[in-house]
């Protein structure tokens, strides 16, 4: 199937224009982060002179390094928590037969109908009463159990031949050992996909860190960016943009590396 040349030209034209429109907001921010204040205010498009001052200033304005570290810790802890809990649950749904399994599976499905936003008030009270405001545990623990992750891994575990399980039973291998030494290594790709997904969503979390942090010690970069924006009163655009670029870099890099896997995984966990 070859495409006629004139059609190709139209396609490339549309692709280039669309790519420019989609990428423009990020590109403009990137360019502004290297601009001097007066150039931004006079509405310049490309930086007439190049400066790294904004990047230096932003680390002085807010404890950005602390926020970055917090976000890294929180995202990695949530990612690991989700991987562990989802894979354990998915194993039970695929390899173990017991009474009430279908009911439990239905309960997992039902959790997808409860939006976190709708249960945020009691959750805030719980965390507050436990004294977990401004703590890593309060910021991470509520997100460990994940129905989507369980479904995604269940799909992957189903691909593993049932004969392997039977053979392991004959060999006298326990379930936990089978889970660790056979199932997890075989579902590597899906685990990576879920890990990337978990990191991305945790890094970008907004509402919960806003509520569950009141001081700078455990504040995440997203809320740091909000703080920066409020403080600056919109006069130093270059500094704010430098902050925003630093905030999006880790996730953009992760997305570029894991895009193909993520695309496949999201479709599998969600659609099947």
């Amino acid at each position: 199937m070859t495409i006629p040349t004139h059609q190709k030209v139209i396609f490339y034209l549309l692709l280039i224009v669309s790519a420019f429109v989609i990428f423009a907001p990020a590109l403009i921010a990137f360019s502004m982060s290297f601009m001097l204040g007066q150039d931004v205010m006079s509405g310049k498009i490309l930086p007439p002179s190049f400066t790294l001052d904004n990047y230096v200033t932003v680390f002085e304005r807010v404890p950005l390094l602390r926020f970055l570290l917090n976000s890294f810790i929180i995202s990695i802890v949530i990612m690991i928590g989700q991987l562990v809990l989802s894979s354990l649950a998915a194993y039970a749904f695929v390899f173990l037969k017991f009474k009430g399994r279908d009911v439990l599976f239905f309960i997992f499905i039902a959790t997808m109908m409860v939006p976190f936003e709708a249960s945020i008030i009691p959750n805030f009270q719980t965390i507050r009463d436990l004294g977990w405001i401004n703590s890593y545990i309060g910021l991470t623990l509520p997100f460990f159990a994940l129905a989507f992750g369980t479904f995604l891994l269940r799909q992957a575990f189903k691909q593993i031949p049932k004969e392997l399980k039977e053979a392991s039973e004959v060999a006298g291998m326990g379930d936990f050992k089978f889970f660790l030494t056979v199932v997890l290594p075989m579902a590597r790709t899906s685990l990576v996909t879920l890990g990337v997904y978990g990191f991305l969503t945790s890094w970008n979390m907004y509402l919960w860190p806003l509520l569950a942090t009141t001081t700078e010690t455990t504040r995440t970069v997203q809320i740091g960016l909000r703080q920066l924006q409020t403080q600056e009163q919109l006069n130093e655009w270059g500094v704010i943009m430098a902050g925003a670029i630093i905030v999006v870099l880790p996730t953009l890099i992760l997305l570029f590396l894991g895009q193909k896997k993520l695309q496949k995984g999201l479709a599998e966990g969600a659609l099947k």
Binding site: I3, A92, L104, P122, L207, L225, R226, Q229, L252, A270
Partner: protein
């Protein structure tokens, strides 16, 4: 003699049943052990809060969120009659109406373009999906500048065409649309990625036979691509609906619900009532309404998703 054999058989049967029961209990325990961590966390952070929210919605509370006076359905009557809450619902529905079709159309257009087998298409796919990696906070900062009344790009572009500057986020008439535009941009990456996956799973054989028949590009698009894509399309439509109802971050960053509550969507209203005004009861009643809306949408997805759409 016969009697003895029968007895023995009965004993075996009993032992067998016992062993079977023990095995069952054991497998039940094992199953629960694997599921326990998830079940506990779901109970603490999902099911308990859900019931607690419903409970709180029948009360007035003090500033710490403890219940004070039972008011029955008053909170609900309040949110469906007081102009401020009614406004919040209207704003939310309008916002959904702007963002869902917008996101789907833009993403579908991009996905169809990016599904062509052309040289360098990978770069375009990466660019189109990039907004998925950009957080709400960062995206809001980007758009805040684009919307800036004097130095923002949008007004600068308008000026080139001789059109007067628009107060994108400050004018009550355009604030919600502006937030919706930025939201469409933020959601495009994810929706595009899912739709592209759907397009790539369509059997190329279908296109080949259409080519043999000399079908035009748009005929193939209408008769093959869209019908075959319908399950994926249906999925992204419901997901977009749900995420539109859950919008919070961009409103908080861009407008704080203003001007004149024109962008005070439901989650922002819940946030304000619960955590600024300390009225947990009224906020809970709104949260229950939000929950019901999302429940209905999810049920529609589960039920209709299987029937109404064309499957291969």
């Amino acid at each position: 003699m016969n009697q003895a054999a029968l007895q023995l058989e009965e004993q075996y049967a009993q032992k067998f049943a016992k062993a079977k029961k023990a095995h069952r209990t054991k497998s039940l325990l094992k199953g629960l052990l694997f599921l326990l961590p998830s079940i506990i966390l779901f109970s603490v952070f999902l099911f308990y809060p859900l019931f607690k929210t419903i409970y709180l919605s029948f009360f007035l509370t003090d500033s710490s969120g403890a219940t004070t006076v039972y008011v029955g359905l008053n909170n609900y009557i309040n949110i469906f009659t007081s102009p401020l809450f009614v406004k919040s619902f209207q704003v939310t529905f309008l916002f959904v109406l702007y963002t869902v079709p917008g996101t789907i159309l833009v993403s579908l257009f991009l996905a169809i373009l990016a599904n062509e087998k052309l040289k360098g298409i990978g770069i375009f796919r990466t660019i189109f999906s990039s907004t998925m990696g950009i957080s709400v906070a960062a995206a809001s900062v980007f758009w805040m500048f684009l919307f800036h009344p004097s130095i923002g790009w949008l007004n600068q572009i308008l000026a080139v065409f001789g059109i007067d500057a628009i107060g994108w986020l400050t004018d009550p008439n355009s604030a919600l649309i502006s937030v919706a535009i930025s939201t469409i941009w933020m959601n495009t990456g994810f929706t595009f990625l899912i739709l592209l996956g759907g397009l790539q799973s369509i059997d190329s054989y279908l296109y080949e036979s259409a080519d043999i028949d000399g079908a035009s590009y748009f005929y193939k698009l209408r008769r093959i691509t869209i019908p075959m894509l319908s399950p994926t399309l249906f999925f992204v439509i419901t997901v977009s609906f749900i995420s539109a109802f859950q919008t919070f971050g961009q409103v908080d960053m861009l407008t704080r619900g203003g001007p004149q509550n024109e962008t005070n969507v439901i989650v922002y209203s819940i946030y304000q009532d619960a955590f600024m005004n300390y009225q947990h009861g009224v906020a809970s009643a709104q949260a229950v309404v939000l929950f019901v809306i999302i429940l209905i949408l999810t049920l529609i997805q589960f039920k209709l998703g299987e029937k109404k759409v064309h499957y291969q």
